[in-house]
């Protein structure tokens, strides 16, 4: 499946282009919508978690908005890609039942579209960094590595979820709930340091925890990522990718019959 999909990479680009064309067609604000969600989340999180509940970042030198934004950028890529990706194959019924092409292109192009949005939010974030802080640490050069791990993880989850959703639409229905709970269980709005010790192993097993903590480490604190924190993310990414490509590969030939 991987080889076949690799050969059709121009098609992935066509699909991404198509999805981008479609996304902002008939919308008045257009591109603006790529940056609205993280900024809105940032404002609400700052208001509710920081001002009302009084969550602190754990480091008096780090302002809460910066802290939250460093978590929201990787998180929103994850959640928007998974939410859109899982239903993507099932909603491409006309195409799947009439045309022969590597089916993986559909979910992959959703991830690709998410990457463009990620790029936009990263630009906004960098602007934010330059305005609010004195300097950007050299360790930001780690971010491509962290993003690569996240992309592998997201791709695996989306491939697995979108294939399973063809057979059981329960997946699509459950995803908003899962994503909401997952957000609460991931230190996006609060620091990992505020998690009680007895719950810490459970939080650290979450691949998104490792990724978001590492993002903050390299972007804000200026340290190289802590390998013990990042390890669950690497393992999770590899496992998710293996599971996703395998399951998608063995079931894609049935999609047209079941969809």
């Amino acid at each position: 499946m991987i080889a076949q999909t690799w050969r059709s990479r121009p098609l992935v680009l066509s699909f991404v282009r198509r999805q981008y064309q479609l996304r902002y067609r008939q919308s008045l604000a257009g591109f603006f919508w790529a940056i609205v969600p993280p900024i809105a989340s940032l404002l609400v999180a700052t208001l509710v978690f920081h001002e009302v509940i009084g969550v602190q970042t754990g480091d008096p030198n780090v302002p809460y908005p910066l802290f939250v934004l460093a978590g929201l950028v990787p998180w929103s890529f994850f959640t928007s890609s998974v939410t859109a990706g899982v239903g993507s194959v099932a909603s491409s019924q006309t195409m799947v039942t009439r045309l022969a092409f590597p089916r993986a292109i559909i979910p992959l192009s959703v991830v690709g579209t998410g990457l463009i949005d990620l790029g936009i939010t990263v630009l906004v974030f960098i602007g934010f960094l330059i305005v609010t802080t004195t300097g950007v640490p050299i360790t930001v050069l780690w971010t491509p590595v962290l993003l690569a791990i996240e992309i592998v993880f997201v791709t695996g989850v989306v491939l697995f979820g979108s294939a399973l959703n063809v057979f059981a639409r329960d997946i699509r229905l459950a995803i908003p709930l899962i994503m909401q709970l997952w957000l609460f269980l991931t230190p996006v709005m609060y620091p990992l340091s505020s998690v009680p010790d007895n719950l810490l192993p459970f939080f650290l097993a979450n691949p998104m925890t490792g990724l978001i903590e590492s993002f903050r480490e390299v972007i804000i604190a200026g340290n190289a990522p802590d390998i013990t924190v990042l390890m669950p993310a690497i393992i999770g990414a590899v496992l998710a990718f293996a599971l996703g490509t395998w399951y998608f590969g063995v079931t894609e030939s049935r999609f047209a019959d079941v969809i």
């Binding site: 699909f15 395998w246 019959d257």
Partner: protein, 412 residues
Amino acid sequence: MDAITLESVTKTYRVGVGRARVREMLPPPFDRVVRWAAPGWWARDTFNALDAVSLSIPDGSSIGIVGHNGAGKTTMLKVIAGVTSSTSGHVKVHGRVAALIDVVVGLHPDLTGRENIYLLGAMHGLGRKSMRERIDRVVEFAEIDDLIDTPLKRCSAGMITRIGFGAITALDADVLLVDEVLSVGDAAFQRKCATWLEDYRDGGGTLLFVSHNLGLVRSMTNRAIWLDHGKVVSDGDTNSVLMEYGRAMERRQAPEEVHAKGQVRKLMRARGMNRWGMGGARVEEVHVGEILDGLALDVRIAFEASEVDRAVFCVGFIDESGTEIGAAASPEVDVRNTTGEVTCRIRPLPLRSGIYFPVVAILSDDGMVRDRWQLDRALVVDRNGDGVLPDGFGPIDLPAAWITEGGAEVGA
């Protein structure tokens, strides 16, 4: 060189919808384990749309596929196109395949015609660059210059048909699979598509053509395959396969025909493709006799009338392309509140050799169609008894004598 080879290809579908389909979502090897452990459950609600079909189709040939609804025709195209995979057996295809399985071809309603054509090209391995040159051809073929940059959802169904077929013409496919597409769109465009398909075929392309329009199958192909319940019943030159298929349809009794008499005697309106009318009088049963001496045909109609006092009975014929070609109408008959029978004797039968579909109708004296029924069976006319059908000139047999120079009548 064979363009398409099928080796005992079987395609099993599950019928019914509903609950999440657990059997389907099991990845190998778990599916094999379950199949082995609970074979009865595994096989429940399944049917074979294709049942051990073996075929080889040489490069450059054009093949017609005929059969009743549900015979497996579209499934065969889908398996060859690679849209779905066969349950068992092998499928080999050489060259670029394009499939027109119903006209929308997987076009996306929110994209414009141009974007759709680019996407379709990309799916067939043609990049934007090579599609850019072809797109003018599509626009020209489909005659849609002003609509090519409009999202498809704002185009009429006819326009979408044009764009769909036009896009297929731009793909330069080696193997073209066409499923009943020439039955849509306006007549002029249908003609254009048929001409294009003829050119494609004559240019050496391999064509697989599914249609209920036997006339079109006859004109487009020289070999035909008759599928029934997923099996190849007959495979050979188009003329003889169609003749065989027609004869089978002649013998066939539609369930409706058999049970009509025992049904509740309610004279209701009928609405359907093959039967419609405003009710008040009803055809109960039709018996189409044998053609006697190649000349006379009796059609016996059993009827029931409740709200019609005087009726006109009609027996007509539709040819293999679906065109109504003529009818016999009775004088007004007194039918007040009766059930009865009337026989139409057509003599001589003015039809040339071919496959025809009888239609019977009851009209009231005010001209309203009370019941019109196109029978689900055929009438095969074989004038010379050799199964050879004439090429061209249509279905009407003109009564004529032929006189040679010497003044003698030929064959008299």
